[in-house]
Symmetry: C2
Subunit: 266 residues, 2 copies
């Protein structure tokens, strides 16, 4: 009987997998990985394979989503298969669906967790996780089209005084939504709606390559942040709601937000 073990790689590099993740991979007959949902800038495939002592087969989006039977499940039906995923696995919808499909095919599934951007982003800047509303994903804009629903959720959070984590899309071909393009798109919607929720004077925090050696975290007025080059992906944003005074202090120390900007959010 087969088994499919989802193993989180964390965010940083080949060393942000857990000890149990390494042990479980060693017990597997075949090791797959995907990096298209979230790139890991510091990860070296060669080092990862050397560490595990195993060949790691990288799968494309279509191999995971359109033909999961073709590779992963065919092997998992008769043997033990490890599927390495950046962050904590089973967060992306595509992994949930793969897990369900495996169970439907009589394949046992096991989860080996690691760190996720959902908690690490908040921890990095010192904001309280329990004061975050629902998180949103912002997609790469196609022409002028930008979906309204993530903005609706951001507006809901804002009205409740909650922080919002926005993950910016990464494409398998390497394209990604940058912090400045995301801010421009959000500002445009706010302007058009005339809701006064987001403008050049709003406090936002940009986070690039969180937990990597080239991590860049900077909070400032939206208008200031838009002209800053955050470099390569992955990018994310935190749009703060109301701040506890300890959170304001944390944003000053860990996201370099000038003190005077914080006062309006207390």
């Amino acid at each position: 009987v087969g088994e499919l073990v989802f193993i989180g790689l964390g965010l940083q590099d080949e060393r942000s997998i857990t000890l149990r993740g390494v042990e479980e991979t060693n017990r597997c007959d075949r090791v797959f990985a995907e990096f298209y949902t979230n790139p890991m800038p510091d990860l070296s495939l060669q080092k990862l394979e050397g560490m595990l002592g195993k060949k790691v087969h990288i799968l494309s989006r279509s191999q995971v989503e359109e033909d999961p039977i073709g590779q992963i499940l065919t092997h998992a039906k008769t043997g033990r298969v490890a599927f390495l995923v950046s962050g904590d696995p089973i967060i992306a919808t595509t992994h949930i669906e793969l897990r369900l499909l495996a169970e439907k095919n009589g394949i046992k599934t096991t989860l080996v967790h690691s760190s996720s951007i959902y908690t690490v982003a908040a921890a990095t800047v010192g904001l309280q996780l329990q004061k975050f509303g629902r998180a949103i994903t912002l997609p790469i804009m196609e022409g002028d089209a930008f979906p309204e629903s993530p903005y609706d959720f951001l507006a809901q959070n804002k009205k409740l005084g909650l922080h919002t984590l926005a993950l910016l899309e990464n494409r398998p071909d390497g394209r990604h939504l940058s912090i400045s393009d995301a801010l421009q798109a959000l500002k445009n919607i706010s302007n058009r709606r005339n809701d006064h929720l987001l403008g050049d004077e709003s406090l936002v925090v940009g986070l690039a390559r969180v937990d990597s050696s080239s991590q860049m975290v900077q909070g400032n007025l939206l208008g200031e942040l838009m002209s800053l080059d955050f470099g390569g992906p992955p990018h994310s944003l935190i749009i703060p709601g109301r701040l506890h005074f300890k959170e304001a202090e944390a944003l000053h120390v860990f996201a370099h937000v000038p003190h005077p900007l914080l006062e309006a959010y207390l």
Copy 2:
């Protein structure tokens, strides 16, 4: 110059630390840990010390919160100190404050992340993380007193169709809020307010000792779940909002929810 390295232990046992966590601990002169914010049922201190090759000094709540200078910061001022914490560190307010205090005292702080109940709970039952509203903590009841604000946040989430993760309090003395006591308290508030948000017929999911060898996960009607013994801590709850059909399928497969109960939530 000193350094304080916050290192996540994850949820499971001594093997849910990352490789980087082990390396960083090895570079430290002194190793502290606290387990009062969240107990780890499978962790063996002896195995952890054996694996790290270092003595681990367990700190009480008062040593971390009331006298952080006394132990942790005194050592971190002149040397490199590791502070091991269950889950992903810097999620609890007390760790954020300790990190701020360290920086104020000129001590460099570093974060080494691991998995957290905030993402693992959703992953375990296959619900989409982006459909969770703000998480809540429910405290042990003192007499009949139970705070209203977590219920207010739960009600907000419910009205927006969002899922809610509720973490149930653990005390340093080993006492903890059980799933059935938490459900009784929430039901009482709903009854008193007559808001029809939660009752015996509501779908809830109980999670005990998530990611440990004795993990227990069961979804059912609140009235049914209240009589179930989930065993020792830590306990948590998920109160689902509206379900995508894939989420309903996941709750059936991974939280054993009978199919007919799920239909009202689609």
